[in-house]
Subunit: 185 residues, 4 copies
Amino acid sequence: MRVKRKDTKKRILESALKLFSEKGIRETTIKDIAKEVGITEGAIYRHFTSKDEIVRGLFGMYSEEFYDRLMLAFEEKTYRDKFYRAVEEFLSFCFENPEAFKYLDLFHYLRAEEVKEFKKLPKDAILKLLEEGRGVIKIRAELALAMFVGTLERVFLFTQAGLLEKYKDIKGEVADLLWKALTSQ
Amino acid sequence: MRVKRKDTKKRILESALKLFSEKGIRETTIKDIAKEVGITEGAIYRHFTSKDEIVRGLFGMYSEEFYDRLMLAFEEKTYRDKFYRAVEEFLSFCFENPEAFKYLDLFHYLRAEEVKEFKKLPKDAILKLLEEGRGVIKIRAELALAMFVGTLERVFLFTQAGLLEKYKDIKGEVADLLWKALTSQ
Amino acid sequence: MRVKRKDTKKRILESALKLFSEKGIRETTIKDIAKEVGITEGAIYRHFTSKDEIVRGLFGMYSEEFYDRLMLAFEEKTYRDKFYRAVEEFLSFCFENPEAFKYLDLFHYLRAEEVKEFKKLPKDAILKLLEEGRGVIKIRAELALAMFVGTLERVFLFTQAGLLEKYKDIKGEVADLLWKALTSQ
Amino acid sequence: MRVKRKDTKKRILESALKLFSEKGIRETTIKDIAKEVGITEGAIYRHFTSKDEIVRGLFGMYSEEFYDRLMLAFEEKTYRDKFYRAVEEFLSFCFENPEAFKYLDLFHYLRAEEVKEFKKLPKDAILKLLEEGRGVIKIRAELALAMFVGTLERVFLFTQAGLLEKYKDIKGEVADLLWKALTSQ
DNA sequence: AATGAATGAGATTTCATTCAT
DNA sequence: AATGAATGAAATCTCATTCAT
């Protein structure tokens, strides 16, 4: 019965994320996670000291990964390219990690106090981009952030929900939309 | 003896909403709600048959109210005025019912299946508005919906979180931003 | 099935004491206590917020009662009578509350830090008595306390264990023994 | 490589004793002991088949050592010297092995049944001494035992707790006290 | 000998719901 | 209508012990 595998810790995180995004954190029990991984409840506690540690571990992990992806935008030369690249990376991350995104989103803004300990928050990457664009971006950075994040978020969620067709170049389409909206006031 | 108390049922809903938006649904116990109202656990069950009934009751109530508010936009004459009125009503509702909004938002789009029974969903009001604007609105209605809803949502949440200053005419500012974004592609 | 009784809280304390002294605190489960009382585990938590609260509650309750009993010695006129009365009350309390005594003893001196919050500790009543006897009692009060408490404790425990016969006037016999020991150096 | 480490079995017993006397038996986990020794849980089971075996092993070991120490009293010539030597050995053992003593004490008299298998119980050495003193000791041996053991026990515990100063000749002081108490009725 | 992941049983605690009053 | 004790199911967590390596 003892299935041997090296990466139990990683598998716990993955299963937890899947279940958290499907059912919510509170609705997901340690037993659920254990069953998904294929181990017993007690075994979870060799890798994490509490359910909360799993939650925070997940948030930190994906938050950082998302942040790093967004920061790739700064590799581009022109500001316009940086902007388009940021949109591209944002949506790519969402579609590649839909569960993580839903989970992050939920956690992110609704429980702001609990997030303070994390250094690399995705929103900070975007804010940096928008502040760098002062002059090109016609409105104050925080309002631009709201439109940028809000729009991409909804695009992703509507696509997931089937409300919006995820056809070929939705990334380019949305990038155009946002670029015009924020630069041509 | 003559003090007219709002009837208990209403007070239960209000207290539940407050606690749900503060701590989440699962984290809020019937005992918490009872204490907030100033009655005991058993008494709750005089008015609702289950905790779930409270949840659905709340969602239906605020969802409908929000929908009705948004539909007021159609009282305006010109399309532009309707659009501006919708933004105005959206943000007014949010700021007047911040708890309800946070709560609704969460429930709304992330758990689409659970929402099917409700006829008057806020998103349908906005969708109707955007479809009526075909011609003026340059992009397909669903994408416009994503930007419209996403932006307003984030404006509200950022304002609540202190990231965005809620100065005098934020409603007008945001309405301008959205109007230009959606009409001038 | 729902047996109606007013004093569930008291019954919980009594059952807990019985089991604690029989099996030890850690070895006694909430389930054990519940079964002994004739209710379910959950019901315990309507009366106490944790197992620890039961433990501290018990200690405080019996500690105070024991203290009050010992303080009755000061009702007597002569010092000798006070001394004899204290011995009498000490042993009476032990034989009337054997479980409490074993439990108290265990808790008392082995986990001194945890006991600080309690004001009326039995040992303080005895210490007061011995200090009042300065002059009559020939040795320093703390050493006298050790002999007084140690002897009575062992007399009780040996009697309980069947090592010592609990015949008619053991209280008088022990009081004589202690009185002579402490006054005639 | 040449550092001769005390063998693991002994180190386990020592660590276990330390933790048992600090936190109690049930409160001490195998993992705690392993960490204290510097090995892992599984390794413990190379040396002991169960936690209970550690417990009984410890009790037997210290009980016997204590017994042997007390029996040294019989090396003395006169009865008075035997008595004084017994007090001396009793307290020496306590102060040298405070953890063992606390642990033994607890176990010793409160759970008499569990102790039956052990042949050399400290109390039997004392009882032997007191019985040999018939004539000199004025009271029945069991009562004398209670005073002897109880007083010494409390002297040790109070000293440990800081209630009693452990100055130069406390052993002689206590021996005098007990000798007079038991012989001059 | 030793490691440390895993098991499995059980302990504490929580809580929606029921029910006698 | 209301109270609040009690139920019962389930959740989190603990830990002695086993076992593959």
